[in-house]
Symmetry: C2
């Protein structure tokens, strides 16, 4: 087993993943905890870094994600799209103590403003590892789903949809709270939701969840799947450019399955790429460009 | 001044309004408090009714709104649309102690399920008082905005949109919390939001609020108006049938002004009808049909 050469951190809002990697990018070990940036007090990062090194080795660190945001350790300015992996690497900042923090990517013109931090690493990694072509449309489900367009290995455009966050808000608060606690799975209720979500009247479709249960036209235990289908169906339908295309789905688990169903209903085929594999390939590529 | 003949209650989820009316419908006095159905414990209604009579007179009571729901005193079954005021009156239930509770209206077919409780009284009242024609499209802004279609004085269809609730959820929780505390007013940011909301990608438009402030393309103090515009613009645009029409807006105050702007951008003209005037006219009509 080779020696670890550096530590890669995927440091998000609520979770943190630590990877020890060999110089050639081989994964040696991983760890995950809930010390996302929201859990770290102001001024707490040097102690967090010291604890990570005590556990995983006194090594150089390359970090991506919300650690580089206004809510993280250092606010690393966004690199403007179009951006390739070299452009991203050129925006990295030394946070001190041998820690390098990668920037995110912004896109901003008269039509629209959008930002991301961390997701771009997976896109560059998927392309570098040959898991996706250099021209591809990616979908990255999560609290904030990202649709990312790559052309010749460069990220040229992307769109963030608050789909997962809206589901969480509706489940926890407001008039649908208590109705969405059941399991979410691909099935007839989810597919009904996908169709309903495509109609373009999302705020009305969401109220229909309550009305249909009150009137007995939908079983209460199907409400969560119906709601998830409405939200994910609206997200996919809003693109209007999926028919006949291939979407590279960066994810794993149940949420990737649900998005694959929605994308399929919109007329595209999906190729699922494991998001951790893509992240590690991306970090390795970016580290080589930083050296 | 004539004697009071009965008390009308507009008993909603969070607020309660009490009106003392003469036999001819003349308003003698009003009161409002926050004893909505969520504030009344199980079994607490007889005491509430007694307190209302102690304050406003020992009179027959006619009540509308969420008091007739599963969360209220008696679950009064919905009357199915199409329904006129006589049909609504025929579904009223005696809750005991001289209290009559009106039902709500449901609509349910293979395409869609929807329900309302209380809003229909305003529609019947606006028509009965000659404030709106018997064939009209109504809009009733609120936590749950209602679009209501009347034909020959009969409610034939309606749509509920969770527009106001979504704004409240986003303001109080999640990643936009803290960004939407500024004033909401009709102005350039609100109008930008209306245009953005019409694009049919609501969950992406909502994330753009955050991105545009982060990237400095929108002033932080304009975020709340922009967000309100996105949500109300999406609500109005979802109808797709407004161009060239007249919308009768049942409301008052700032929210009615915002919806009038959105409806105007969608190509319709608005006639605003005071919602309390409409409610009282509706209650009077329904009482006459109950006698």
């Amino acid at each position: 087993m080779p020696d670890a050469a550096y530590l890669a951190l995927d440091w998000g809002t609520t979770n943190r993943r630590v990877y020890a990697l060999a110089a050639d990018g081989t994964l040696l070990h991983r760890a995950q905890d809930d010390r996302g940036v929201l859990a770290v007090p102001a001024g707490g990062y040097p102690a967090e870094i010291a604890a990570i090194r005590a556990a995983h080795g006194d090594l150089p660190i390359l970090a991506a994600g919300m650690i580089g945001s206004t809510r993280g350790w250092h606010d690393v300015p966004y690199v403007a799209a179009p951006a390739d992996s070299a452009a991203l690497a050129s925006g990295a900042v030394q946070a001190g103590q041998g820690v390098t923090i990668l920037p995110g990517i912004s896109r901003c013109d008269e039509s629209r403003a959008d930002v991301m931090r961390g997701e771009e690493v997976q896109v560059f990694g998927a392309i570098a590892a040959g898991l996706a072509p250099a021209d591809a449309l990616f979908c990255q489900p999560g609290t904030h789903n990202k649709w990312i367009v790559a052309e010749a290995g460069t990220i040229t455009d992307f769109t963030t949809a608050m789909t997962g966050e809206l589901f969480a808000l509706l489940k926890a608060h407001g008039i649908l709270a208590g109705m969405l606690d059941g399991p979410v799975a691909d099935g007839p209720a989810f597919r009904d939701g996908l169709a309903r979500g495509q109609a373009g009247d999302l705020t009305a479709a969401l109220f229909e969840i309550r009305a249909s249960v009150l009137l007995g036209t939908r079983a209460a235990e199907d409400a969560a799947s119906f709601a998830s289908g409405i939200l994910i169906g609206a997200d996919a339908a809003a693109r209007r450019d999926l028919a006949g295309r291939t979407v590279h789905l960066l994810g794993r688990g149940a949420l990737a399955t649900l998005y694959a169903a929605a994308i399929g209903e919109a007329g595209a085929r999906t190729i699922t790429i494991d998001s951790e594999t893509a992240f590690l390939a991306g970090i390795h590529t970016l580290r080589e460009q930083l050296q």
